[in-house]
C-alpha cells in the first residue's frame, strides 16, 4: 500500500454521522442543551415551535441533533422523527417534581417504540443548578430505569444553563454510538 492510497483512504473516510434525537417534555431544556452543545447564545430561548436541528463535531463524529418541541400538542409528531435514530437523548427538568410521572410515562412509551428498539438512551437530569432539583439517582429510581434491559442506558445529571455535565453525557454518547449496530 503506497502513500497515495493511504491518502485516498483518509480522504474517503469522513466523520461518521450520528443521528441524535433529543426529546423530553416542554420546558425540560432541550433547546438550551442543543444551543449549549453548539456553543451558541442561550439567553433568549422560547418554547420550540416545531423543531431545531444542529450539527456538532465531537470526537471524530458528526452529531446531527434533532430537537423536537415537547409541548403536549407536538408530542404525537415525535414518531415522525424516530427513523434511523442512533442515540436517543431524553431530557428531564429535575426541579419539576409535579411532572415526574408525566415525563416517566412519555419515556416509557418511547422505549416501547419499535423504531427505537435497541437505540441507546441517555437521560439528562437537567437543571441541577436549581436548589430544588432532584438528584439523578432519585430520578433513576422514580423512573425505574434499572428495569431497562433491551438497550444500554445512562443517566447524567447536568445543567444546560451552566454547561455542567453535558460533556460527560456526550462522551457517553460517542462511546455508545455503535452499541445498536452490533
Amino acid at each position: 500500500m503506497g502513500l497515495l492510497s493511504i491518502l485516498r483512504k483518509l480522504k474517503s473516510a469522513p466523520d461518521q454521522e450520528v443521528r441524535i434525537l433529543l426529546l423530553g417534555l416542554d420546558n425540560a431544556g432541550k433547546t438550551t442543551l442543543l444551543k449549549q452543545l453548539a456553543s451558541e447564545d442561550i439567553s433568549h430561548i422560547t418554547p420550540t415551535q416545531g423543531f431545531n436541528i444542529k450539527s456538532v463535531q465531537s470526537q471524530g463524529f458528526k452529531l446531527n441533533v434533532w430537537d423536537i418541541g415537547g409541548q403536549r400538542k407536538i408530542r404525537p409528531y415525535w414518531r415522525n422523527y424516530f427513523e434511523n435514530t442512533d442515540i436517543l437523548i431524553y431530557v428531564i427538568d429535575s426541579a419539576d417534581r409535579k411532572r415526574f410521572e408525566e415525563t416517566g410515562q412519555e419515556l416509557a412509551e418511547l422505549l416501547e417504540e419499535e423504531k427505537l428498539s435497541c437505540v441507546p438512551v441517555l437521560i439528562f437530569a437537567n437543571k441541577q443548578d436549581l436548589l430544588t432539583a432532584a438528584p439523578a439517582s432519585e430520578i433513576a429510581e422514580g423512573l425505574n430505569l434499572h428495569t431497562i434491559r433491551d438497550r444500554v442506558w445512562q443517566i447524567q445529571s447536568c445543567s444546560a444553563l451552566t454547561g455542567e455535565g453535558i460533556q460527560d453525557g456526550m462522551n457517553w454518547v460517542c462511546k455508545n454510538v455503535n452499541a445498536k449496530k452490533k
Binding site: S5, R8, K11, S12, A13, E17, Q49, G50, F51, I53, S55, N64, W66, I68, G69, K73, I74, P76, Y77, N80, Y81, F82, E83, N84, D86, K180, K181
Partner: protein
C-alpha cells in the same frame, strides 16, 4: 411588468431557500431516509415568490418587513415564513397543530391574515395552496408497515415475474404456463389473460402510460429481458439466443438484431435518454450500443463470471454491472474503461442499481425471487461523483446496511 418582477423574485427565493438552514439540513438526511423533517416539495409550490414589501402593522418606515418565501413544515404541521426585516433575514413559523382534513381552509387563511401582517391579501392564494398541501400530507396513511393484502392464485405453473404499472392500479404476471395475466390491484380481479407465447414468459414490462399488445417474434431462445425506452417508442429485448433485438413499439416490427455476444444475454438496458443501450452476457462481457445507428460503442471486459445485471447511471455516462464473480463494476459508457470494482459480496450478485442522483449504488445477492431485506445482503457504496472522475480506483467507503 408585475409578472416579470415576480419571476425574477421566484428565482431569488429558490436560491435563498436552498441556502437556508432549514432546507440544507433536510438535504443531508439523504434520499430514502425522509422521516420527520419538513420538505421542499418543489420550488414552485413552496418557495412562493412575494413581490410586494409588507409594512408591519402600525410600524414605522424602519420596520419594513418583506416576505421572502414560504416553507412547509409537515411534522408538526405549520408554515415557516422566511422574511427580511431591516435587511436581516429572519424566520418565523405559524403553527397549525389543529389542522386536519376537515379544516375549512379559507376560514383558516383569514384567521392567519388577521394576526400575521406578512400574509397580505395578495398571498391568499399561495397560502391556501400551501395549507391544502399540508392537509393532503396529514391525510396520508403514515404507518408504513406492510401487510399481506391478497393472495392471488394467478397461474397454474410458477410465476417468473411481476410488474406494476406506474400508478400501481394494475399489474401483470408472467408464468411458466406461457401466459401473462393482467390484474386489478385493488380488487385482485383478473382483467386479461395474454396468451400466445410458445414458451415460458421470462420478462415483462409496462409501457407508459398505456399500451397495445404485440407479439414480438424473432428470438429463437428464451427472452431474458424486455423493456421500453423512455418514450415507449422502442422495445429492447435480450435473449438466450445470444442476440438482442430492437423493436418499433408502434408497429411491433423488429428494427435491428444485434449479434456479437458469444453466450446468452442476461440483461439489457437503455440509458435515461434512450440514446444508448447496453447488454450483458454469460460470456462475462457487456456491450454498449448507439440506439440510432445500432453501432457498437464499446465492450466492457473484465468480469470473471457471467454478467447478470447492467444499468446506466441517471447521467448516462457510467454503467453498473453485477456479476457472478461476486463483484459489481462501474464503467465509463463511452470508453468501456472499468472505473471501479466494487467488492465485498461473498456470493453472486444478482441485482444492482444506481440511486436517482447516481451517487450511490446498491447491490443485492442471495436467492432469486426472494424479496425481503432479510434475504438480501445489501451494502451501500457512496462516492461523490467528482472523486470518481479523479481517481478511477477503489475509493468508496463500504457501509454495512440492514442493521441500522
Amino acid at each position: 411588468m408585475a409578472t416579470k418582477a415576480q419571476e425574477k423574485l421566484s428565482g431569488a427565493c429558490a436560491l435563498v431557500a436552498a441556502r437556508s438552514r432549514f432546507v440544507r439540513f433536510h438535504g443531508y438526511e439523504g434520499p430514502g431516509k425522509l422521516s420527520g423533517a419538513c420538505a421542499r416539495v418543489s420550488a414552485r409550490s413552496l418557495c412562493l415568490p412575494v413581490s410586494m414589501a409588507t409594512k408591519a402593522r402600525g410600524g414605522s418606515q424602519s420596520e419594513r418587513m418583506k416576505l421572502r418565501c414560504l416553507l412547509l413544515r409537515y411534522y408538526p404541521p405549520g408554515i415557516m415564513l422566511e422574511y427580511e426585516k431591516n435587511g436581516e433575514l429572519k424566520m418565523k413559523s405559524i403553527d397549525l397543530l389543529d389542522l386536519d382534513s376537515s379544516t375549512d381552509v379559507s376560514a383558516l387563511v383569514k384567521d392567519i391574515q388577521r394576526v400575521e401582517p406578512l400574509i397580505t391579501a395578495s398571498k391568499t392564494e399561495q397560502v391556501t395552496l400551501v395549507i391544502r398541501r399540508l392537509q393532503e400530507k396529514l391525510g396520508q396513511y403514515s404507518n408504513h408497515s406492510f401487510h399481506l393484502f391478497k393472495v392471488l392464485r394467478a397461474h397454474i405453473l410458477p410465476l417468473t415475474n411481476v410488474a406494476l404499472n406506474k400508478s400501481g392500479s394494475c399489474f401483470i404476471t408472467g408464468s411458466y404456463d406461457r401466459t401473462c395475466k393482467l390484474w386489478d390491484t385493488a380488487s385482485g380481479e383478473e382483467l386479461h389473460t395474454l396468451e400466445g407465447h410458445k414458451n415460458v414468459v421470462y420478462a415483462i414490462a409496462f409501457n407508459n402510460p398505456y399500451g397495445k399488445v404485440y407479439t414480438l417474434i424473432g428470438h429463437c431462445a428464451e427472452i431474458s429481458s424486455a423493456l421500453f425506452n423512455w418514450d415507449s417508442s422502442l422495445i429492447l429485448t435480450g435473449s438466450m439466443d445470444k442476440t438482442c433485438m430492437l423493436w418499433d413499439a408502434t408497429s411491433g416490427k423488429c428494427v435491428a438484431t444485434l449479434t456479437g455476444h458469444d453466450e446468452k444475454i442476461l440483461d439489457s438496458c437503455f440509458d435515461s435518454t434512450g440514446k444508448l443501450f447496453a447488454t450483458s452476457s454469460v460470456d462475462g462481457t457487456a456491450r454498449v450500443y448507439h440506439t440510432a445507428t445500432r453501432k457498437l460503442i464499446t465492450k466492457l471486459e473484465g468480469h470473471e463470471g457471467e454478467v447478470s445485471k447492467i444499468s446506466f447511471n441517471p447521467q448516462g455516462n457510467h454503467l453498473l454491472t453485477g456479476s457472478s464473480d461476486k463483484t459489481a463494476r462501474i464503467w465509463d459508457a463511452q470508453t468501456g474503461q472499468c472505473l471501479q470494482v466494487l467488492e465485498g459480496h461473498t456470493d453472486e450478485i444478482f441485482s444492482c442499481a444506481f440511486n436517482y442522483q447516481g451517487n450511490m449504488v446498491i447491490t443485492g445477492t442471495g436467492e432469486i425471487n426472494t424479496i425481503g431485506s432479510t434475504f438480501l445482503s445489501h451494502y451501500l457504496l457512496e462516492f461523490p461523483n467528482c472523486i470518481l472522475k479523479v481517481y478511477p480506483l477503489p475509493l468508496c467507503h463500504v457501509r454495512a446496511h440492514g442493521s441500522s
